[in-house]
Subunit: 323 residues, 2 copies
């Protein structure tokens, strides 16, 4: 069964305001792009990034008038990058809903992403805080670098685990880090606390993505709401694959499946069985857990209390979801 | 012969610094996206938007330490939007150079555009001025709305001149306006001056785009460095077409060419001849000139001097280039 995590009642309540705000800012001009934006936003997701903004925003002062726009903006940036990613990956569905490129076309998806980037920075500009703009701009940069890096290295085994880690840092971890940096900064946390929370976010994001890559191989399709093996079929060389290749006597076959741009469903099934027959999933989960440990270590200096409890709970959730 | 316009020696000098800065910020991380970005930046263009930032930046104080990042950021946003537009339009060349989607692929083009948006806001964040961030974010928004609007209305005559004007305002005029608002604001111009210069930019941008649309029909291919009739073939319903349809007895044929997604070169040639046989080009040029008159009227309140001379000269250039 799907495990949930402790969400402070205050965060739960304020997340609803973020939801309303997301719908409001996107629809503001009554333009056609609002429709494609809303479709993606409504498809939902865990809203982990806004939750991190709100939660770290409690470190010192809790000023909702800043935190709501910041949490809204970060989800807009995330959504924009998902929409562009779906064009890159030629994905038809996301979270069980048709992607913008599938429901409309690639052109609409490109414009919708740009539109959401624009709104995100428009919303951010209201905060009057250039540090926040910089953190978010850097995250946009990293997202674009990470996504293209991923696409360019598909179906290629000419890469190392370090390449994989750099990719997921850019693609996922730095936006998690940005969420925490933004929340902590807006709460008026000390410099050392802001830095620690930023590192927490980065490590959490690494663990999140590594665990996501585990789910693509050993997840429960019904709980995930999508078939497994999609990334494998797309030739993404994730951590479990690196580990499995080290161990299995069938590494030649597994290698061929990864390199093949036209693997059949049967090939994928067989490759998954090969990976499952090694300790790759176990080892990968342990790596994810190690990142969570690092995340929790960095917040040692944060005072015990609700915020820390919440951050710990999210950490546990990330490496134990859907199991 | 190509006409030039008066560029203040100071602006000319500082534009070189902007060029260096563009190359520097894009290449900063040594990432792969730098290459595709630089290719597009190097292909050049008139750099009208950074010139407007520098020129309006002289209205009061001339503070290069702010103006260079602002001028750099606006060219980055412009370049990002060109790269994404080329994916939308499936264009193979721009200014005689291969587009990013042609030289690489659509995926690289999408990521490169996002990368440049990211750098633009990263550069802007250094100014510590939220008004500037808002102006630029609004411009990004408008660009995305305008481009998609244009794409969605291709090959359709179910639109009015007002639709056309709204489109080019979003697609072109608001970024010109942003350039002037940003320059004037950074120079510490009065509120009324900033507003006037913003309106100047908007009107200038309208005239610029209208004249661009004239050149697609009656321009000199050798001077333009690209074939004429491209927009017509893409089914863009521009001002000369609206006017020609009103006048020509061959409106049925012209209509068919615009609506046809597979017009041959001969169709296009014949359609251009039809348009040329009417007063559409003349009338469109007059409309462009009227926007320039409006632009110059709005800067009545700006004191006579180098800045005003420069703004006038750009206005004249825009409706008289390449003729």
């Amino acid at each position: 069964m799907s495990k949930d995590y402790l969400l402070l009642p205050q965060v739960k309540k304020d997340l609803k305001i973020v939801e309303e705000e997301l719908a409001k800012v996107v629809a503001a001009d009554g333009v056609k792009l609002a429709e494609s934006s809303l479709t993606t936003l409504r498809a939902g997701g865990k809203r982990l990034r806004p939750i991190l903004v709100l939660l770290t925003g409690m470190t010192n002062n809790y000023d909702l008038s800043c935190l709501i726009p910041a949490a809204t903006a970060i989800e807009l940036v995330h959504t924009a990058s998902l929409i562009h990613d779906d064009v890159l990956d030629e994905a038809d569905t996301r979270r069980g809903f048709p992607t913008v490129n599938a429901a409309w076309d690639a052109e609409t998806a490109i414009s919708t992403g740009d539109y959401l980037f624009g709104i995100a920075f428009e919303v951010l500009s209201k905060l009057g805080n250039s540090d926040i703009v910089k953190v978010m701009a850097d995250a946009v940069l990293a997202l674009s670098v990470g996504e293209l890096h991923q696409m360019r290295t598909c179906h290629s085994l000419n890469q190392t685990i370090d390449d994989y880690l750099t990719k997921i840092k850019n693609k996922t971890a730095l936006l998690f880090s940005a969420a925490c940096l933004v929340g902590a900064t807006l709460s008026g946390a000390s410099e050392i606390e802001v830095e620690a929370l930023g590192k927490y976010g980065e490590n959490l994001g690494m663990a999140f993505q590594i665990y996501d890559d585990v789910l693509d191989i050993s997840g429960d399709e019904e709980i995930l709401g999508k078939p497994i093996g999609i990334d494998l079929k797309d030739g993404m060389v994730t951590m479990p694959i690196f580990f499995a290749l080290e161990e299995t006597p069938q590494s030649k076959y597994l290698q061929k499946v990864v390199e093949n741009v036209n693997s059949t469903e049967e090939d994928i099934k067989k490759a998954i069985n090969i990976i499952e027959s090694t300790s790759a999933i176990e080892r990968t989960k342990n790596e994810a857990k190690r990142f969570i440990e690092s995340a929790l270590e960095t917040i040692d200096l944060i005072a015990e209390g609700e915020v820390k409890k919440g951050l710990r709970s999210i950490g546990e959730f990330v490496v134990d979801r859907y199991h």
